[in-house]
Amino acid sequence: GSSDDSDSSNAEGDNSSESSEDSNESSGDTPDTLVMGFVPSQDSDTIADTVEPLADRLGEELGIEVKGQVMTNYNALVEAMGANQVQIGFIPAFGYVLANEQYDVEVILKSIRYGSGTYKAQYLVRSDSGIESLADLEGKVWAYGDKSSTSGYLFPASQLMKEFDYASAPELESGFFSGTVQSGGHDNSALAVYNGEADVATTFDDVRTELEEEYPDVMDKLTVLGYTDEIPNDTISVTRNLDDELVQKIKDAFMSFNDDEEMIKIMNDVYNWDGIDEASDEEYEVVKETYQEFKDNIEL
């Protein structure tokens, strides 16, 4: 077990690693094999289902075997990192916040997409709906993917709550909007608006590109009404009791991918990333606040 505080304060104490070759005075574990867990963000237009290219390369760079495993549910990843079954996690912002809160997992890097370390959520309405500002949304029907989606729900809800002065999410849903549709995914939300079942959808920017193939007129029929604040991209995080020096090596290895033509291409093809950048916990403060805001009054 790994209780939250003991790990960070006296990490040397609970060193349970079998490896002894590393004899420097650094704190924490240096396992023989690293396990990398990957939960691709649903807030992205293509979703990769493999972590192998990254794991293989990382293993080469570090000289340690690295195994990768993809999952679609970040609870499992958070818990696995807590139990030190996974040392490196590719976690979306929201999952990172949970992992950090529960098990002191630490962010070291983040992905860069379209040249930015952040993305935002958008409000989609039908072009012919006559809705022109967020205020026009009052009394309309709101489609969102699912309540634990940062861009699909949490950020827009938070923004609207602030702007129109609602104390809690349930009040917003029932007071401001006339109804809500929980669609299960960003694409479904957009389609709900497209099909007239809802008036506004909150999705990542820009979900329409994903739908263009199946629904060629989606770009015309749906208009972006506005955007939310910036949301930090997916993280690369490590467990707290990993050896500092090893963490540094991991950081360097990932950063070196930015200079490697071949790797950039892989990252772009597979994960839709332009690059990798350093990140710190503060950048995720905004998500943390949002989480706190919703945690207890999330409607059952």
């Binding site: 396990v35 979703i47 993809v70 549910n73 609870n75 499992a76 818990e79 694409d187």
Partner: protein
């Protein structure tokens, strides 16, 4: 016309009549409640399917062959997880099945305890079991094996106990009559009677587990589940078609093989 005597009407006690009426009323109430509660917008549904049919169904039937290698590997992993898991469950369920069988323990209390354990095990969603085992052994197929093993034990134990309760106790008596002790009776009179059913259920469970283990991928416990979710999220119906085809083929083959094995052994 010939005259005839009608039989007396059946005597039903008032209590019985009331009970019958009560049951009908309750059933009717449940259905009214259900149909009031479920509100489906049929117009919308028809509209939806009219729109989506062409987008989904034809694609399902034109599988994306390029993913064949990946899908095969995942489905193989699913089969292995299901096999190892259900074999473990098949064995774990034996003591529980005996515990929950009235005619073996002869004690209502023990039987009830056994049945409750089995029910409790069954109430845990597979997905949460899988998360627990990912925590225990890491995100890999073995976590899936353990999740399947525990998850199936509940159902198998229940089925086993029903088999044990239905054996021919006369044979047990015959063994008693020639001086066999309890353990000998178990091996000579009970086990030969239950083995075929136990095997059938274990094999049936293996088949069910192939389907169940397909969701384990969601939490990183291996198998084809991740691919299903990804195909769904990416609206990649061609790949879904291939996955579906693979599952159907594999389960059918297993069905075929297991039917033969069963025939051999039974």
């Amino acid at each position: 016309m010939k005259s005839y005597t009608l039989p007396p009407k059946p005597e039903k006690s008032l209590f019985k009549k009331l009970k019958a009426i009560l049951i009908v009323v309750i059933l009717a109430a449940i259905y009214v409640w259900t149909f009031l509660g479920i509100d489906i917008d049929w117009a919308r549904a028809i509209d939806r399917i009219a729109n989506n049919f062409a987008r989904v169904i034809p694609n399902l039937f034109s599988p994306d062959w390029s993913a064949t290698a990946d899908v095969s590997l995942s489905i193989l992993e699913t089969v292995l997880i299901a096999f190892a898991g259900s074999l473990m469950a098949a064995i774990l369920a034996i003591p529980l099945g005996f515990l929950a069988a009235q005619n073996m323990t002869g004690s209502r209390i023990l039987t009830t305890i056994g049945k409750w354990i089995l029910s409790a095990v069954r109430a845990f969603p597979d997905i949460i079991l899988a998360i627990l085992f990912v925590v225990a052994v890491g995100p890999n197929a073995f976590a899936g094996v353990l999740a399947i093993a525990i998850g199936s034990t509940g159902m198998l134990g229940k089925l086993y106990s029903e088999v044990i309760e239905s054996i021919d106790m006369k044979v047990v008596e015959a063994m008693e009559a020639n001086g066999a002790n309890k353990i000998q009776i178990l091996f000579y009179a009970v086990i030969p009677q239950i083995i075929p059913e136990f095997l059938s259920y274990a094999i049936y469970r293996f088949e069910v587990d192939i389907r169940a283990s397909s969701i384990l991928g969601i939490v990183g416990a291996g198998g084809i589940g991740t691919m299903i979710i990804f195909a769904a999220n990416n609206r990649n119906w061609n790949e879904m078609g291939l996955i579906l085809l693979a599952i159907i083929i594999v389960v059918t083959i297993i069905d075929f093989i297991s039917a033969r094995i069963r025939r051999k052994i039974v």
